[in-house]
Amino acid sequence: MSNRSLPRLLQAPAVFLLIVWMLVPLSMTLYFSFIRYVLNNLRRPEWTNPNISNWRGFGNYEFVLNNKDFLLAIQNSLIIVFGILILTVALGILIAILINKPFQGQGIVRVLLISPFFVMPAVNAVLWINMILDPVLGLQGLAVEGLNGIVEDLCNLPVLGGFFSLWPELEPISFRATQTSAYAVIMMVTWQWTPFAVLIFMTSLQSEDQQQKEAAVLDGASTWAQFRFLTLPHLARPIAIVIMIQAIFHLSLYAEIEIVSRGNGNKNLPYLIGEFANNNIGAASATGIFAVILANIVAIFLLRMIGKTLMD
């Protein structure tokens, strides 16, 4: 008997820790979301204590729902996550198919390609927004300036000059500005996570049924048809897994947004919560509960999928 129960007890510490980790802070968030709770308020100092007498009912939720940033933040969260997912999966499939067949230096290309995945998010953001995307001093600024210089030189050509003088002067894009900063975030995260997708798709492609493929070729199937009807179905499961793992990581994206724009016009839910939490803990907690609900919608969907595919 002890032979069976002791080994099972060994999972108890992990389960216990995760239950505590989940329940304690979450129930506190739930509680805070129903009371008036701020960090500083000189006129109403009693609100600075998380006391039950400050009960506010659904007041915080109403406040959050009426906040103009809230819907924007949800929208931004979704744009960023879906943008990244679509790009990484599409690029991942293309690149994986490209480098799947052996060629000279395949191993080195693989190592070069996977490197971005290990860069810490803070460095990723600092590197991209400053040294690459900066409209004046970054590579983007230099490239735009260089191109404008070339066009200007071409304008002085004897015959063709007239044609080139019609070209508009290029303007560098500021990625710290309101809308574009979301694109900057999508770009840098895509850079970091595409390698991950490539690696997984490549592994999966290696187990593709080659005989089936050869048969298709003999039957005169086009390259597109082979991809559409053989490769893509084969990749269905890895695509599902890439989407799931990325959703876990990107719904809580924070460092990149903080560094790129300080949330300037481009908050996602975690960022908005952080902003509320500078003073209004009640509102931050209510937003947090909304974030939990959103994550749960995604999670139910994904976990059902993973539960089916992984536990065979």
Partner: protein, 277 residues
Amino acid sequence: MAIVAQTSKFSQISRPVLAWAIGFLFFFPIFWMVLTSFKTDADAVKPEYLFFFQPTLENYINMTSNYNYWRFAQNSAITAVVATLFNLAVGIPAAYAMAFNPSRSTKNILVWMLSTKMLPAAAVLYPMIFLAKGIGIFDTHALVITVVSLINLPIAIWMLFTYFKEIPREIIEAGRMDGVSTWSEIKEILVPLAWGGIASTALLIFIFCWNEAYWTVRLTTIDAATLSKLIEGNRAPEGLFFGRLSAVSTAAVGPIVVLGWFCQKQLVKGLTFGAVK
């Protein structure tokens, strides 16, 4: 054979060229960061020194005085090492139990564990700060290590479980027949057999812990602040310090990227929980 001839032109010339180009494209930002780290702050923003410049080590030499780099690096190392060890200590027994003594609820427990990973960190950040300040452990290693360990524990258990599941149960059970205790069953049979899987789990968890940016930034001020906090606190305003910032960034990610190269093969299996073969 006609098929081979048909595709060979693309395969032999364009494919490698394109593949190398993409490899370089993805590596370029890292290369650029390393290159810039050898320029002075003034040279780093001059177009005429884009690729050819007088290399200098001053950014690395001054890293301590500019950024107090080693202190943050030390904190990152302590956090990542202890959290990884913690993950193994709690994760190996748990994964062992689930892989070799599964019950009807094992599958649900595993999926539930993964679901804790989806809990938005921002939603529970404030209670954590509140508790930590209440107990008086805000900005301490103990707090950061605990949190960073717990957020990675589900991944660690899943990975270990995936590796353990591949070990034939008979081997473990044979040991049990011989009356080996559970403890030595893990220590003397399981761990040596699953050594490769345990090592790659440890490596990957270490990388995740080192790179963690949300909790480590929000739960620390100075004493336990990690490299993520250092970099985030010093994002250069409008290109002032590209040189020195690149140096400190290179030092922060360099060792991890190299470690990553070694575990990239195991990464797939670990992170897809064995579902992609």
